[in-house]
């Protein structure tokens, strides 16, 4: 009897939970409302079966529970009943399958005239490419990938020169226009999933995959990797901004083409040296850093990382938090670098400075720290040398007190919580696996020994 009540209670509870639960699809932002419709249809059909069969079972438990002197009914087969159930079930199944196949027929047919966008997956970030004026993508070869050519586009392919490259996890799409999304991966399987769009597809190294959609709502939508792609999988994040066509065109025009990224001149060390005079007041003449002035060592750090941080300071992406007192100071100084060329020049000069091991200031247990560092090594490299493709800066030979402060900042959301700071958000998610200050001291101590 308790069992029958429990079954009935679970059925009622399930139905109530279905209607009362606060979790349902995010408001749809694409043309794939038919997918939601088939989901709803499937809920109705399966929900009816769930309720009917379980309530019938509960009835049986109550009605045919053992009583003294009663005997079960002996009727091994009931052909008629069995056939009826088979037919009714088949009809129910067909009622769900048929609309499903019709929706899928639309999915496999990309509308003529759909524009194309390529999304590239790499541990653990997304980047994007548009075909440019000629409407054709340049060929790629993963062996050509480098910090200067992260898309691995063949430099000799004329089709690739006008490709618009977006080396970062945020992309824009025009409202109401069909777009075919091509998926490519450089290392392992990834997936480009935007829950608000419903459609998603794996990106597979060695081949190009695709799906299509029409964005139907302006706004900003999360993109996630939903195919396990390694240790930092859960931090692989992107964003799609859907906007009116003219805004999209303006955004697209502001993005560099592949040819432009190649043509950009290298930084001028002499010009950089002049700008560096300001920096040297805090960071030291040799970029050796100064803990008293809260200025970390710069010499030896990867140029791409310094460039990005200077740009982020300039844009207010870094140093945005009220609590980031030293970051705020740096915002003011970075603003003195007039443009990208100035940034490039000063970075070129810093890269020319001699690299020396800074004095260790943090005390901790290096062997415990080595265990924690296993997580760090996935992005920063086992020697802390930094890895450009994971956007992970060099850690070895850098200021340990600075790393400690940044780890604390990341954990407390002082750094990495600006909506445009995707890499910072990744590091913030990772830094949280260091559960206390001791763990931070230990790992920094270990890094000091690398």
């Amino acid at each position: 009897m308790i069992l029958a009540c429990a079954v009935i209670a679970l059925v009622i509870g399930t139905v109530l939970f279905h209607f009362l639960s606060p979790w349902w699809f995010t408001p749809i932002a694409s043309n794939w409302t038919t997918m939601d419709d088939t989901v709803n249809l499937t809920f109705w059909v399966t929900g009816a079966v769930f309720v009917a069969v379980n309530l019938f079972m509960a009835y049986c438990i109550v009605r045919y529970l053992h009583r003294k002197g009663t005997k079960a009914h002996y009727e091994p087969e009931n052909k008629k009943l069995e056939w009826w159930l088979t037919i009714v079930t088949s009809v129910g199944i067909a009622a769900m399958l048929a609309p499903g196949l019709l929706v899928w027929a639309k999915f496999v047919t990309v509308p003529a005239g759909a524009s194309e966008m390529e999304v590239v997956g790499e541990q653990w970030n997304f980047s994007y490419r548009f075909p440019g004026k000629d409407g054709l993508f340049g060929t790629t070869n993963v062996r050509l990938a480098s910090p200067e050519n992260p898309f691995a586009i063949d430099p000799n392919d004329p089709k690739g020169q006008d490709d618009v490259v977006v080396y970062g996890p945020e992309v824009h799409l025009p409202l109401g226009k069909p777009v075919k999304v091509l998926g490519r991966a450089k290392d392992v399987l990834h997936q480009f999933a935007v829950p608000a769009f419903r459609v998603k597809m794996d990106m597979v190294p060695g081949m190009v995959t695709y799906f299509w959609l029409i964005p139907t709502r302006t706004g900003s939508f999360d993109a996630l990797c939903e195919q396990l792609c390694g240790t930092a999988h859960f931090t692989m994040r992107g964003r799609v901004i859907v906007e009116e066509e003219k805004d999209f065109q303006a955004w697209l025009a502001a993005q560099p083409t592949y040819a432009q990224t190649r043509a950009a001149a290298a930084g001028d060390v002499t010009a950089g040296q002049a700008s560096y005079a300001v920096c040297s007041a805090c960071h030291g003449a040799q970029g050796e850093g100064n803990p008293q002035l809260n200025a970390p060592k710069l010499a030896g750090q990867a140029g791409w990382y310094l460039t990005r941080q200077l740009q982020d300071f300039k844009l207010g992406i870094r140093g945005a938090s009220e609590k980031d007192q030293y970051g705020k100071q740096m915002v003011a100084f970075a603003a003195m670098l007039a443009d990208d060329t100035a940034v490039k020049n000063v970075v070129a000069y810093i890269s020319s400075l001699p690299d020396a091991h800074p004095q260790g200031t943090v005390s901790g247990n290096p062997s415990k720290g080595r265990e924690h560092y296993e997580t760090c090594a996935y992005c920063h490299g086992s020697g802390g040398q930094g890895v450009w493709s994971t956007n992970a800066p060099r850690l070895s030979n850098m200021s340990d007190w600075y790393m400690k402060r940044q780890l604390e900042n990341f954990r407390q959301g002082v750094r990495g919580s600006h909506p445009q700071d995707f890499n910072g958000a990744q590091m913030a998610a990772m830094a949280k696996s260091l559960t206390d200050e001791q763990a931070i001291n230990d790992v920094v101590k270990h890094i000091d020994s690398l």
């Binding site: 438990i61 999915f107 597979v204």
Partner: protein, 588 residues
């Protein structure tokens, strides 16, 4: 009949009479001892997997509170949890454990037809388990590439255990498959060749049918996993490129070229989907017998049940790519695989109807095995119906790789089969040991497990619809569409999981305590019809049947036959021992 040749070796001595403690309990060739060895080993490694799941839930419910669960550890835990539960616990327990115990006893044989091979099968299985566990201790730790072990990430440095952990995993799987093949050939041959007189195929209990068909599936499906394991080991150690296209890793180009990651996925799921039924079919069969025995009623529509098992078995080989709708394979495959997948729901639904119709007009005894059997039906209906979402291709696309999938497969192929395992252990423990398991502890075990697991997984469906991705170490605030209520729910789920895990200790205690203090069971405590309850000794001694093999006169489900004195007629009762009654002989 083919079976007579072996079945009739009645008065000759069995070939492998044990002579010492060592040959009786350790290097035993007796199917019952091997079954218990399999069962204990499977439960032991299953406890490891249970512990891993608790560690995972602690991280998800209370993120960043436990320094020993770093991201790479979390991925190692999910990988090993999944692999152990599916292969080393459920497959080994249903086939190596219940298959070994039940096939000879239910078919009326003295033992498996190849007892020596049967013994070797267990020891190779144990070796596979040891290699698996060794994976935790190699440099770099166990593999963390997910139980699907997809290349390229499984062997590239961005995943934990990409060098030695994955090699241990693959070596362990290959070893397991060797063990399974030895056992599997035995089960199939015994069912086909060693049934006693009168035991036609259509008189076999559904437990034997389920285990038999699952074994056939295993023999056909595991080779696909075996070759994938060998090929990926070569990719990892010898630099071949079976599954590896030109890739870079950490910004550095590698030497691989020309292989296909999708090839692995096809091979894996060509094994992986039948594997679902390798676990499910024995559960289907066993639960049918539990329901029939404890409802004192024949299984409803026996022939339809047998055909459904065969149909599911055959169809299970043509549905595999429904795991790959968003893998990047040619999307046109979606039409075919969605259709086959939804067709397989028809025989599955028939089985569910027939279980419920077995209760209908029955004489239901709510014993502990019966509680678990009914709990199974409820859980399986829920998990099975949500399979119709994921099998239908456009419905799957938004739900794939979310917690909806986690809820579905845990309910349908995790919780459902394990409820049957528990029911079956409560049901057959008296035969295995001669002692009853404690009833009160059994009921506590049932209620917390049944309700607790549903409370774990029901909310996950809705988290999945929201879009919560699975295989995430943590969901941080940067994801805009995830509200704080999700994190609260995750805490509740973890609390439920802790209760469910804790009550399994009660079950373990019951298993040990009852062995010494349990009520004596007698030969046939459930008043069941099938042959294993008709052995001259309980527990059955070596050779099972004493002087003469049983002879079978009727099907396995003569419960509550009209006019019969008792409400059950064992299969080996000849018609002339019965009062003259209508159609007491049941099926031919």
């Amino acid at each position: 009949m083919a079976y007579a040749a072996i079945a009739d070796r009645d008065h000759t001595h069995p070939l492998h009479e044990p002579k010492s403690f060592l040959t009786r309990y350790i290097w035993s060739q007796d199917h019952k001892v091997i079954a218990i060895q399999y069962t204990i080993t499977a439960i032991a490694i299953g406890l490891v997997a249970l512990t891993l799941s608790i560690l995972m839930r602690l991280q998800l419910g209370f993120p960043h509170s436990f320094s020993l669960i770093a991201p790479q550890n979390y991925y190692q835990f999910i990988t090993l949890h999944g692999m152990i539960m599916v292969i080393y616990l459920l497959t080994a327990l249903f086939l190596g454990g219940f298959g070994n115990y039940l096939i000879p006893l239910m078919c009326g044989a003295r033992d498996m037809v190849f007892p020596y091979l049967n013994m070797v099968s267990y020891w190779v299985y144990l070796l596979a388990v040891l290699i698996l566990v060794a994976g935790f201790f190699v440099p770099g730790g166990a593999t963390g590439s997910g139980w699907t072990l997809y290349p390229p990430q499984a062997i590239l440095s961005g995943s934990p255990g990409a060098r030695w952990g994955i090699v241990c995993m693959l070596a362990s799987l290959a070893t397991f498959i060797v063990a399974f093949t030895m056992g599997g050939l035995n089960y199939v041959t015994t069912v086909l060749q060693a049934r006693c007189r009168g035991m036609t195929m259509m008189r076999m209990p559904l437990s034997v049918w389920g285990i038999f068909m699952a074994t056939v599936l295993g023999l056909l499906a595991f080779p696909a996993l075996f070759v994938s394991a060998i090929m990926m080991t070569l990719d990892c150690l010898a630099g071949t490129s079976f599954f590896m296209p030109a890739v870079s890793s950490m910004g550095q180009p590698l030497g691989y070229n020309g292989g296909s990651p999708l090839l692995f996925q096809h091979l894996f799921w060509f094994f992986g989907h039948p594997e679902v039924y390798i676990v499910a079919l024995p559960a289907f069969g066993i639960v049918s017998d539990l329901l029939s025995t404890h409802a004192r009623r024949h299984i409803f529509g026996y022939r339809m049940m047998v055909w459904a098992i065969l149909a599911i078995g055959c169809l299970s080989f043509v549905v595999w790519a429904h795991h790959m709708y968003v893998s990047g394979m040619n999307p046109y495959f979606g039409f075919f695989f969605a259709t086959t997948t939804l067709i397989i729901a028809v025989p599955t639904a028939i089985k569910v109807y027939n279980w419920v119709l077995t209760l209908w007009r029955g004489d239901i005894h709510l014993t502990v095995p019966m509680l678990f059997a009914i709990g199974f039906i409820f859980t399986f209906i829920n998990g099975g119906l949500t399979g119709l979402f994921l099998g239908n291709v456009p419905v799957d696309v938004p739900l794939s790789a979310t917690y909806f999938v986690v809820a579905h497969f845990h309910l349908v192929m995790g919780v459902s089969p394990i409820l049957v395992v528990f029911g079956a252990l409560y049901h057959w423990y008296p035969k295995m040991t001669g002692k009853m398991l404690d009833d009160t502890l059994g009921r506590i075990h049932f209620w917390i497990t049944f309700i607790g697991t549903y409370m774990i997984y029901l909310p996950m469906y809705y988290l999945g619809i929201l879009g919560l991705p699975r295989r995430y170490y943590a969901w941080d605030e940067a994801i805009q569409f995830i509200p704080p209520s999700v994190h609260t729910m995750n805490k509740w789920i973890t609390v439920s999981a802790l209760f469910v895990a804790a009550v399994q200790l009660v079950f373990l205690f019951n298993l040990v305590w009852s062995l010494f203090k349990g009520k004596p069971a007698g030969g046939n405590p459930w008043r069941a019809t099938t042959l294993e309850w008709q052995t001259p000794d309980t527990p059955p001694v070596h050779g099972n049947w004493g002087e003469r093999l049983p002879v079978v006169y009727r099907w396995a489900y003569d419960y509550s036959v009209p006019g019969a004195k008792e409400d059950f007629i064992p299969q080996n009762v000849p018609p002339d021992k019965l009062a003259p009654i209508g159609h007491a002989q049941g099926q031919k």
